[in-house]
């Protein structure tokens, strides 16, 4: 399927998905409730079989932004080499979306990283733990309200001396 056919298929299934294009890249905005179904449709029917990346953007200080977070899924088609970006606006205090680990095994660590850095929960994830930061860490450092120099975690990090261990 080409991009145009894919967009038509998406629009047929989900009433109003906004899509845009910038420098040759097609982006689709899918609301959180239809995100999983849209991704499933893209994977199983439209040939977008490669999950390239899952990432997130915190729009807290972005001019003109309405929602707090944008969850971004980058997909690719290994047959036609086309790419598609799916973006989902999230605005809850404790945002949560359905995990896509069942669709792509690659989502496992990517979703853990998004949870680690942004605090977005993925329902149905088999092992949603922090991945890069220690489990004791309480903040979500890539959120825009987290300062660049941290909140003293580094300074107050517990050190185990040889005698105590």
């Amino acid at each position: 399927m080409t991009i145009a056919e894919t967009l038509a298929a998406l629009n047929e299934r989900f009433a109003s998905l906004a899509s845009s294009e910038f420098r040759g890249q097609t982006r689709v905005v899918a609301p959180a409730e239809s995100l999983y179904d849209a991704l499933e449709l893209l994977k199983n029917c439209c040939g977008f079989d490669l999950l390239v990346d899952i990432t997130c953007v915190d729009y807290l200080r972005y001019r003109g932004a309405k929602e707090r977070f944008g969850l971004v899924y980058l997909l690719a088609n290994t047959q036609s080499n086309e790419r598609l970006t799916i973006r989902t606006p999230l605005d809850a205090a404790e945002p949560m979306v359905r995990s896509v680990v069942g669709l792509w095994a690659a989502a496992n660590w990517l979703e853990r990283e998004v949870w680690d850095m942004f605090g977005i929960r993925f329902a149905g994830h088999p092992d949603l733990r922090r991945i890069l930061l220690p489990e004791e860490f309480t903040a979500f450092p890539l959120r825009k309200d987290y300062p660049l120099q941290g909140l003293g975690e580094r300074h107050n990090f517990p050190i185990i001396r040889r005698a105590e261990s």
Binding site: V52, D53, T55, V72, T78, A105, R129, L132
Partner: protein, 408 residues
Amino acid sequence: MPLTRSLFAEDLAQDEAQPYLWTLNFGPQHPATHTTLRLVLKLDGERVVDVIPDIGYLHSGFEKLGESLNYNQYVTVTDRMNYISPMANNVAWHMAVEKLMGIEVPRRCQYIRVIIAELSRLTDHLLCLGAMGLDLGAFTHFIYAFNPRETIYDIFEALCGARFTNSYTRVGGVMRDITPEVIQMIRGLLAEMPGVLHDMERLLARNRIFVDRTQGVGLLTREEAINYGCSGPVARASGLTRDLRRDEPYLAYADFDFKVCCAREGDCLARYRVRMAEMWESIKIIEQALENLPAGPVNVGPGARTILPPKGAVFSTIEGLISHFELVMTNRGFEVPCEEVYLATEAPNGELGFYIVGDGTQTAYRARCRPPSFIHFALFPHLIRGHTLSDVVAVLGSLNIIAAELDR
């Protein structure tokens, strides 16, 4: 760093049910992990039943830094991601920035970027294969592979003044044009490389011990490679013929004649062979790029207000000083749209991409790096389950995990 609580609970519950299993801690400071990563292996005698990778030891907040450094400054941080092939990261970062700003770099610059990207592919594959042999007991092979890396670093030093952390690219061009001396050095390297590759092949490709330890180890099928999001040599060794240089030609790759190297087997030996074959193709690409290196300007002209002028011009001419300040002063600078782009390049390790959100200022609002090592290391438990403890280093070596890129 203690094991996380949830892991402990899981471990204890399993241990009670299966008292014959024992747990082995591998890393974070182990020579065969190359860098700081840790594996908690569950063993049944010699056999690996399960493995829990524990990463994050080198996490340094590169993506957070990207939100406070401007588009030219951040290139120094990309050097430190995959420090085995920093030039490839430089190229990827600035290509993404140029895509965001809509800048088209001149042909000569594209060719130079292709040359340095392919040179860094050579350094990356040489180190990966050398270290893979080293882990499996072939020390001599490592020395043979490491030697030409020295020549390549000399080339980088002559080109940009730094050996490891090059920071060579700029928005709209490169730091400095390539000189005839550097071209001479690259030609010398190209003359030397076939001999090196033949030596490496003769040492290892048919070596009984090496083949026995890699053949059929760490099997990955094509479907699994797609499902796990693999790219680069790892995916190509499993029969997924995807190479962004051919499939989404960027820079000047459409001009060159090269093959996409693939294998069907999907084991460690296939990954070794694909990397080995890719080096021959890289040599071909560099040769063609040097032959056809276009004349003309290397950077976007100063009128386009995108490239910093050479330092000599800044210090000695008023025009240079003005165009310098036009870019670095806080109320001047690049014209950045409030948009989001993703650009992927075929880095030595796989698909290296940057997702950049511009907000009109001189600093990226979000600079996400899509690191191939991260995606490939997630695959590791799947590859090693059922193999023996000694296969851990074989699989780890064949995936070429760079922890600085893994953790960022």
